[in-house]
């Protein structure tokens, strides 16, 4: 009953009187899977929290609490470690986020060591977080690190994980037809050249055609494949049968082995405490030549200078070293662009592998023009092994964060805290395209430094005013200084010396690097009071006022208010035997927010000079010197009840938040001279219900079974946009699909062309194909799930425990560019096979092939026109490729066995040995998106949710871990 939770600014509160929603997850629950990223492991474990993790190695995690609130701003929760905000930027470039290639560099919260986490407290609503200032409007993930215990403690973990792809999330290819775009080319769908020099023309696979709507496979037909033009190949100038590849693109993925080691020492005496931890996490991806190595050291100590004055300090150092992160989106650096969209089903991946490793050359199946030596270059696609071994990226990030503080207890009711905290990291990202690749060789480097300093001074009062009435007071100031500097440099026109990746190796004039320097200052003061009556009534009020450098001087200060109350009504019902506790909470809060850096004053861009001509340009976005602070208003009501000696309980919350007057760079008609302008506009409402239920159906000395259920239903609606605007595009994607904030719709509508409908039926035109709207603004989906939930079961029998998590998402949509293009290239299984007449669907109409699209003609009669299925078939509208994103996943499972003490009792030093076996993403029990993982996305952030382009398959991980306690 007296459970204590840590709330905003490190204030400890009895859970029973907490007037707002907060849910705690133990560190053990997020470190158990040894994944190196504690936060993807939160999925399904906290109500109100939506985690979205793509399948890339070390990719970014989208962490949103209670729905997307800001139309274009940051919607990610704030991370606070032991009271210190830790930056969680997602710095993926816009092109990456809109699927135009690039790499997902992950988010910075991945630098937090999962093994140092004691627990994670998720503060969901603004009333709980208002004291943290504007960044906390999206909720706070508050991390308390492990605290040292008396004596010396040592914990060692050593784990090994095997990763492989889930083939249910990868295409199944048709095996009946090979290369081509439904064209006869020279002869029967083949090129015709004399390859072997006998003076007779030979059949050659149309290597430049990156589709599989070509000639029907025929094992008796000998043709010259791409390797007939590779002098190192055993098939040089030799034909091979015309058959489907034995090894399809799934062969490209490997089974990889990751490992994780960790040691943590801690100890405490009367004078103070210390802890020292080290973690090394080596993550190997399922693509060849991909890995991510993290080294993390953390040290923390407290020292009691006097009985009243305590000094504390904490230092965390992390170094992340990545190589071969997966290329994303529509780009030659992403092998899935081909595997899912542009491929020849006759190409054997293993043969491509052998070809590359024979002499490390770019021997592609996609020769530009095999009839002549100068045509033996890739027209569109490199050899995939060349892509991952030559055109790989690398990156590293070194980070230090920590604090130093002095805690002074002036009297038994008054204490002061002074603290300086620093978060500083430097990162380097290097990307390369080797000489010999399709397109210009290049080298790009991105250097970025981020620093945040917080200076805090707080006074705390905790005094019983009467026997029944307790008063807690808080008064403080916070100065925050952040600086972000970056430099993006790239070569132009190719590279001079092959294999040398430096800016100076540029063939063309070196473009000026793009530099940024973005300092921000926010000064705030705050105060709060808490009145508690007899431990069953409590009333909180907090106030904060911030002044931000990013707003116009006249408008740069803004206030936050929060008022919350709770009533432990079970206090009045002590005679009800089955009721263990019952509490009602109610709160209201407003949170202000400032503008992003550099949105007030207009400046010019400077394109690279044209010879001796200096160029300047107006930027694409118009700044605005009349911006005002934006505001989020939040209301919440909650009920917590526990029954049967706490064996059963629930916590349910209903909330409504409105984020109004948002500072957004609205897209504007380019006829204004700009394509965006900063304005105050908009109102986005999130309404939702969060429910957590826990139960212990069985509890005996030897056996127990507990269930935790979390369920979240968030309803999101755009209530207002700029002026009369009805729509605000957030991201435009290839093929004319966009993600938008649309008036009266949930945030994040997917828009594109759709079917023309008549009386609920799709209309077919006179050619026999579906009619398609000319407008691209039809809502064809939305990215928000109807609800999400997780069920976690734990069984314990003596020393053995078994836990598993089923993670569910219901509803919402995902749009697939992969499916959109694959229709035109005939890769997938359903593009071949038999039609309703039992004939091969790709046969000509005379030969009984083709299909009849279900629908009606313009005059309402059922369509009876049979049409051919080939590369020239009319494309279905984008609406056809918007899929239901629901899933049910066996997200994680683990079995832990704690060795009985009798086994190691002779070795006095050892206090415990745990052996565990665990798995992540073990089984997708249900999904509606074919050949892909509905959760896969391009990056975290607002734009890329709900979009798939060159999607990666799910990585399934199974591992084991040994934990020793000394």
């Amino acid at each position: 009953m007296s459970e204590v939770v840590v709330t905003a600014l490190g204030i400890k509160r009895a859970k029973n009187t907490l007037p707002y929603a907060a849910q705690t997850v133990q560190g053990e629950d997020v470190s158990r899977l040894r994944s190196g990223n504690a936060f993807s492991a939160l999925s399904g474990k906290v109500s109100g929290l939506q985690i979205n993790q793509g399948n890339g190695l070390g990719g970014s995690t989208n962490i949103v609490i209670r729905g997307m609130k800001s139309i274009t701003g940051n919607n990610q929760a704030l991370f606070v470690v032991d009271g210190v905000p830790v930056d969680n930027s997602i710095n993926n470039r816009t092109n990456q986020q809109t699927g135009r290639g690039g790499y997902d560099y992950g988010n910075a919260a991945a630098d937090i060591n999962p093994d140092d986490i004691e627990n994670i407290n998720v503060l969901k609503g603004a009333a709980a977080t208002a004291l943290y200032g504007s960044r906390a409007a999206n909720g706070v993930i508050m991390i308390t690190t492990k605290k040292a215990k008396k004596g010396l403690g040592i914990v060692v973990n050593s784990g090994l994980t095997i990763n492989s792809i889930d083939k249910k999330t990868f295409p199944e290819y048709q095996k009946e037809y090979g290369a081509g775009y439904s064209d006869p080319y020279h002869v029967d769908g083949f090129y015709s050249y004399d390859v072997d020099g006998d003076g007779v023309k030979d059949l050659v696979v149309p290597t430049s055609q990156d589709a599989s709507y070509g000639a029907k496979f025929n094992p008796n037909l000998m043709v010259y494949h791409w390797d007939a033009f590779d002098p190192a190949s055993p098939y040089y100038k030799k034909p091979k049968p015309w058959v489907a590849a034995a090894n399809d693109p799934s062969t490209f993925y490997i089974t990889s082995l990751s490992n994780n080691q960790n040691v943590l020492f801690d100890g405490a005496t009367d004078k103070g405490t210390y802890k020292l931890g080290y973690t090394r996490n080596e993550d190997r991806g399922v693509l060849p030549n991909s890995r991510l190595i993290k080294n993390m050291i953390n040290f923390g100590a407290t020292y009691n200078i006097t009985s009243r004055l305590t000094a504390s300090a904490s230092v965390n150092y992390s170094h992340i070293d990545g190589r071969g992160r997966y290329g994303t989106g529509y780009s030659g650096r992403n092998v899935n662009q081909n595997f899912r969209q542009w491929y020849q089903t006759n190409v054997d991946i293993k043969e491509q592998k052998d070809a590359y490793f024979r002499n490390y050359k770019n021997v592609t199946w996609n020769w530009s023009d095999p009839s002549k030596p100068s045509g033996l270059v890739p027209i569109y696609t490199d050899n995939y092994y060349w892509t991952v071994y030559e055109n790989y990226q690398n990156d590293n990030r070194s980070r230090v964060f920590g604090y130093a503080s002095l805690d002074f207890k002036a009297t038994d009711w008054l204490s002061f805290l002074g603290r300086i905290s620093i978060d500083n990291y430097t990162e380097l990202q290097e990307e390369r395209v080797a000489v010999g690749s399709q397109g210009a060789a290049s080298y790009t480097r991105f250097d970025r430094t981020f620093t945040e300093k917080n200076y805090d001074l707080m006074a705390n009062i905790d005094k019983d005013l009467t026997k029944d009435l307790n008063f807690k007071g808080l008064l403080g100031i916070n100065l925050r200084r952040t600086t972000e500097r970056s430099s993006l440099a790239t070569t132009s026109g190719g590279l001079v010396v092959p294999g040398l990746y430096s800016i100076s190796n540029s063939k063309g004039t070196i473009p000026a690097p793009i530099e940024t320097n973005q300092p921000i200052a926010v000064d705030g003061y705050f105060g709060g009071i808490t009145l508690s009556y007899q431990d069953y009534l409590s009333l909180d009020a907090t106030f904060r006022r911030d002044r931000s450098s990013t707003l116009p001087v006249s408008e740069n200060a803004y206030n936050y208010y929060a008022i919350s109350g709770s009533w432990l009504f079970s206090h009045h019902l002590p005679t009800v035997p089955w009721l263990s506790s019952g509490k009602i909470r109610l709160n209201y809060a407003t949170v202000g927010n400032s503008a992003p850096w550099g949105s007030i004053y207009d400046v010019y861009d400077k394109p690279d000079p044209f010879g001796s001509s200096i160029l300047f340009s107006l930027p694409d976005r118009k700044n605005n010197s009349e911006l005002r602070p934006e505001e989020t208003k939040s209301r919440e009501i909650g009920l917590e009840m526990a029954f049967l000696k706490n064996r059963l309980g629930f916590d349910v919350t209903y909330y409504v938040t409105n984020t109004i007057d948002q500072i957004i760079p609205v897209s504007v008609s380019a006829a204004t001279g700009y394509t965006a302008k900063w304005v105050n506009a908009g109102d986005v409402q999130n309404k939702g219900i969060e429910l957590s239920v826990y139960a212990t159906p069985v509890r005996t000395p030897n056996f127990s079974w507990t269930v935790n259920v979390n369920w979240t239903r968030n309803r999101n609606k755009v209530l207002k946009l700029y002026n009369d605007s009805r729509n605000l595009p957030l991201g435009a994607f290839q093929s004319g699909v966009s993600i938008n904030a649309t008036l009266g719709q949930p945030y994040g509508t997917i828009q594109g062309r759709t079917f023309v409908m008549k009386d609920g039926q799709r209309v077919v035109d006179t050619t026999g194909y579906y009619m398609v709207t000319s407008t691209t603004t039809n809502v064809i989906g939305n990215i928000n799930p109807d609800w999400i939930g997780g069920v976690y079961n734990t069984f314990r029998y003596k020393n053995l425990s078994l836990g598993f998590l089923v993670d569910v998402r219901k509803g919402g949509n995902v749009w697939s560019l992969d499916q959109f293009y694959a229709q035109g290239t005939g890769l997938y299984k359903e593009s071949a096979g038999l039609n309703d007449l039992g004939n091969p669907v790709r046969n000509s109409l005379q030969d009984g092939g083709g299909v009849i699209f279900e629908g009606v003609t313009e005059d309402g009669k059922p369509n009876t026109k049979r049409v051919v299925v080939d590369a020239n078939s009319t494309q279905l509208p984008q609406a056809a490729y918007s899929y239901d994103a629901s899933f049910v996943k066996l997200r994680e499972a683990n079995i832990t066995y704690s060795l009985p003490a009798t086994i190691f009792s002779k070795i006095k030093a050892i206090k415990g040995i745990d052996v565990s076996v665990f798995g992540r993403n073990l089984w997708i029990i249900h999904k509606n998106l074919p050949y892909s993982d509905p959760e896969e996305n391009l990056s975290a952030g607002n734009m890329p949710q709900g979009m798939q382009s060159g999607a990666y398959p799910t990585t399934r991980s199974i591992g084991m871990n040994l934990r020793l306690k000394f």
Binding site: Q209, I379, G439, T509, Y601, I614, S725
Partner: protein, 475 residues
């Protein structure tokens, strides 16, 4: 309590230091004031890059006019402009990247108190000429477009103006600009003016060429206006190849011709000659055949079919000449001006010379520009199918056909003249997604960002369809 003060002091000190925190928000890596001429130079480059480009994301008119065909990917050749958002890219380039910088350039120059008044007048006139040039492109691409209310970031919902009204105003502005240009004074410095190195006399030639060209656009709808503009322009318009408006790209990246970047550096093998152009080049022994195109793998000249898959090895590719890194982009030239003069004569306007003389000059100028010889040009012209007197059809057909050939690598102008003169009569692309595009559809995001005005503009045409003929396109 003293200790508390010790802790508090540094914090209070910091608070005191940062009274004016707005200084944090100052941009330290970008300028807040720049020379106006540099904005003008940038606009010229943005305009040229768009007109020169062959990327399927930027400029697809080479397929529309059937000079080129695509090897594999046929969407754009089949008039599918929306999948890659080409109208949006084109619109954005013209308004945001060209016109807005021109407008800003004029603003900065107007406010420059240190600039000589006569020089300022020349500079402002030149900037205005380029604005007219760019609006001319917008009108001829889309029809009604925002004009009066355009380029104002305080009006985010600009009204679309009637195309003909815009055109009339543009012609008026152009006449005034020509009047303001004063050869006695300097204008831009050579490095600022990539077209004419600040030569005001050349700018008068170019502006008059533009006046003649835009005047002629009106010929089928308002003959009096057309006649007046063409006659006023004749004497001053471009009358020699040395007066051509050329944006001369540079030999090194990143300032090479976009075709070089796309075809040579990009290594794409997408573009082949279209049979529609290749066949007459072959049949009429056109000396430009080998200057426009290379051969196929077998060493022959062959054109592919627009809208159909074309095996790359079998067809002629764009010539090495047009994809040289420093190949120039033509913004207006002698050949085109001479075709206009020939047409003017045929329309009965009072200009010097005869239609035949101008027709011959135009073709000869085109051949010479591309690197042919005088003798080759004469031989070409001597053929009955080319000679003005004996070539097939009426003047529209004769001029239209030859102008279409001469406007090679100027596909936007080629498309405009094809629509206006209606010759040569090309068949639609194979598997065309619509009828022949007489205009671009409005950008997809105008529906969302400027919906009310978009809807009104589309309603005038019935709907926002590509087959709708623009106001000057009577036939």
């Amino acid at each position: 309590m003293r200790k508390i003060l010790y802790i508090a002091m540094p914090v209070l000190f910091l608070a005191a230091c940062t009274k004016d925190i707005s200084r944090f928000n100052k941009e330290t890596k970008k300028p807040s004031a720049v020379p106006g001429a540099a904005l003008f130079s940038n606009a010229l480059k943005g305009l040229s890059d768009g007109l020169a480009n062959a990327s399927v994301n930027v400029n697809v008119f080479r397929f529309t006019v059937k000079h080129w065909a695509m090897a594999v990917y046929q969407d754009e050749a089949q008039y599918d402009f929306n999948t890659r958002g080409i109208p949006q890219a084109w619109w954005t380039r013209m308004y945001r990247d060209v016109l807005n910088d021109l407008k800003e350039s004029a603003r900065v120059i107007s406010n420059d108190a240190n600039l000589d008044a006569a020089v300022k007048q020349n500079q402002l006139a030149i900037i205005d000429i380029m604005q007219v040039y760019t609006f001319n492109i917008l009108v001829n691409t889309f029809g009604n477009v925002p004009y009066k209310e355009a380029l104002d970031p305080n009006n985010l919902f600009p009204v679309y103006d009637d195309a003909k009204t815009i055109y009339t105003d543009l012609l008026k502005r152009l006449a005034e600009d020509i009047g303001k240009l004063n050869t006695a004074s300097a204008s831009f410095a050579a490095s600022e003016d990539v077209l004419y190195a600040g030569n005001v006399a050349q700018w008068i030639r170019f502006a008059s060429y533009l006046q003649m060209k835009m005047g002629m656009m009106m010929a089928d709808v308002d003959n009096a206006v057309a006649k007046a503009a063409v006659e006023a322009a004749d004497a001053k318009a471009i009358s020699a190849a040395s007066q051509n408006a050329l944006f001369k790209y540079l030999p090194t990246s990143p300032n090479t011709n976009p075709l070089y970047t796309d075809i040579v550096i990009g290594g794409r093998a997408d573009y082949v000659a279209a049979e529609d152009l290749m066949n007459p080049l072959i049949n009429l022994n056109d000396p430009r055949k080998s200057l426009y195109f290379g051969t196929n793998n077998a060493g022959n000249y062959a054109g592919g079919v627009v809208g159909r898959v074309n095996t790359y090895s079998d067809f002629s590719k764009p010539s090495a000449k047009i994809s040289e890194p420093n190949a120039a982009l033509v913004l207006g030239d002698y050949a085109e001006t001479e075709f206009l003069r020939a047409e003017a004569k045929e329309r009965g306007y009072t200009v010097a010379g005869t239609a035949e003389e101008h027709y011959n000059n135009a073709i000869k100028a085109s051949i010479l520009y591309w690197g042919g010889t005088e003798a080759e040009a004469n031989a070409y012209l001597a053929q009955p199918a080319v000679a003005y007197a004996t070539a097939a059809g009426g003047w529209k057909q004769k001029i239209g056909f030859q102008k279409w050939i001469a406007l090679y690598n100027r596909p936007f102008d080629g498309w405009t003249e094809l629509r206006r003169l209606d010759y040569p009569q090309l068949t639609p692309a194979v598997n065309a997604k619509s009828g022949f595009p007489n205009r671009f559809p409005y950008p997809g995001n105008e529906q969302q960002l400027n919906g009310t005005n978009y809807t009104a503009a589309a309603a005038i045409m019935g709907s926002d369809k590509v087959e709708f003929k623009l106001f000057w396109d009577k036939y």
